[in-house]
Symmetry: C2
Subunit: 329 residues, 2 copies
DNA sequence: CTGAAAGCGCTTACAG
DNA sequence: CTGAAAGCGCTTACAG
């Protein structure tokens, strides 16, 4: 049998309510009584049962996090940011991977709901109607991270993707590139698709250059390599490449080098994210630096505000991005 | 107010106990009654409160995971393996980062204990006495992952690090290398230190070659680069490098290239882990492939066995490693 | 400042 | 096959 609040109360010669009060600091307790309680706790090695507390107080001090895949570096770093802030506010996290599958996402929301999480952080692709409905049913605060709700119904933390893509493209233009390919994610993707294509197009249009958008099935290196090889094989050799992830950017560099093209001499490459990978290639990758860790941290901080009913000014956060220039451009 | 089991019971015209039984399948329920209950659940959109269930049943269906840092690719992939198996067995995970700090590790164990996790998966460095004592107090199953207990008191999942280091070194020797440097972790580290140094030494000794071990403060790229530059600057140019992580391996390649040495022409490099990074460099990195995902999966699978008191044969798992040959050797 | 008691939403012997 | 009731270990009005 483990030690309960009852044992502590008995040992200290007070009521359970009093023990609870010193534990939670929910009311003033005479200094002397407090000391007796603390001593008893110490002596017995008592640890409060958070599950019982959760049932009684209807607050579990845990936040659910749903992401497509923790093993992706971008996601892992974001989760780290979330976790650090959660710890700071004495919350723990329940983490689940959805692989971006809508049914799984809904499933996970349900399970977390059953676990009575105090809030949920969500990273995904499209916000389907079913998803929104499930969030609504769960009746707990939700914050999106690196995920946009085109209709702004749910608070979210992102960068300005359109502007970032514009900046990246513009940078290549200023370096003298005229035939710039965009290695894009799925066109209908609300983060790595549409808005970045828009920013890219805008920059080209200003110069009257032709757009050349290629969708990659995923943002992973292997797919990037494949896609790029296809482009180079068709002899549509660009002089600039904007890739929507560092992995695609590295793939771009390698595909060019493998084809005998010099980087940044003949082809310049710029990417998105500034994960650690960007500096682990030669030439090192110029990239739009996203504050990935901060995005997770801000999302979690915002969550704590929502949970504690603190006043909030903003609703959709757009964190600043930056251009980290290295030797691939 | 949310819907409780009481509401369902009333709607179905049965007792709470019966609802509980159909929910958990803990006893046979007449087909007709069952249907009534299921209909009521459906109609009301009832979801059982897992916290209340946890309090009553003393099982929370959650596993605590403590790792140094999820944002490290090795760790992230391992965690993914854990999570997938947990999902398979209907468990959820609480994830925390310790940054390898002993006090923090002990703290986290305490918090997870309060949360009544059914078991804990632990990845860390040294198993201090305090740590072991805390595990013991918590009275729940613990499994180590990519972490060794030199005295075998706690079940664990690893590869045979000594053998792996031997294999890597031997491979370079067979490729003709005579001056092989080991880019090692801290010498007293029970995973990336001692055992790998031992395997390395053994392989060299067989040939009568001289050992040259250099400790890196961390296993990260930046430190590897720094360390390697020091070695090359001292004009102690090796013809082979064994690095204990892929990041160090990539650093080795780049340091050599930057110093005008050809890889694998003048210097051959081999590393550990086979994370995705290994194939994202040129030349691609030859590396000891660790079944990272599987290590996490096996550890979690073993945990489910411990929790359910299934008979277990083994205690310390040594998963097979492999040598993935690429172009850096 | 402190205590007695109800209640959080389940599970689980115990009866029948 | 099903129900009534105790109990899991806390918190929280309510009294005093």
């Amino acid at each position: 049998m483990s030690i309960t609040i009852y044992d502590v109360a008995k040992a200290a010669g007070v009521s359970m309510a009093t023990v609870s009060r010193v534990l939670n600091g929910t009311a003033v307790v005479k200094e002397e009584t407090k000391k007796k309680v603390l001593d008893a706790i110490q002596m017995l090695g008592y640890r409060p049962n958070a599950v019982a507390r959760g049932l009684a107080s209807k607050k579990t001090k845990t936040i659910g996090i749903i992401v497509p895949d923790v093993s992706a570096p971008f996601v892992a770093e974001m989760v780290r940011g979330m976790e650090d802030i959660a710890t700071m506010y004495q919350y723990q996290i329940i983490l689940s991977n959805s692989d971006g599958q809508p049914e799984r996402e809904i499933d996970l929301i349900g399970t977390m709901w059953e676990k009575q999480v105090d809030g949920m952080l969500f990273m995904g692709n499209h916000l389907t109607g079913d998803l929104l409905k499930t969030f609504e049913q769960a009746q707990i605060p939700v914050v999106l991270c690196a995920t946009v709700d085109p209709e702004g119904r749910i608070p979210s933390v992102n960068i300005n993707n359109e502007q970032a893509a514009y900046d990246a493209t513009r940078f290549l233009i200023e370096k003298g590139c005229k035939h710039i390919v965009l290695l894009s994610g799925a066109t209908d993707h609300p983060v790595v698709g549409k808005p970045r294509q828009k920013g890219y197009r805008k920059a080209l249009k200003q110069e009257g250059y032709q757009a050349h958008i290629v969708e990659c099935p995923t943002l992973r290196y292997e797919d990037g390599l494949e896609t790029l090889k296809g482009i180079l094989r068709d002899n549509q050799i660009p002089d600039g490449i904007v890739a929507v992830s560092d992995e695609l950017g590295v793939a771009a560099i390698h595909a060019c080098l493998d084809a005998g093209l010099s980087v940044p001499g003949q082809v310049k490459a710029i990417a998105f994210d500034n994960t650690r990978l960007a500096s682990m290639v030669r030439p090192e990758l110029t990239t739009i630096s996203q504050p990935i860790y901060d995005m997770g941290a801000v999302a979690m901080r915002f969550m704590t505000k929502l949970i504690h009913d603190e006043p909030v000014e903003e609703f959709s956060f757009l964190l600043p991005h930056d251009l980290t220039v290295r030797s691939s451009t």
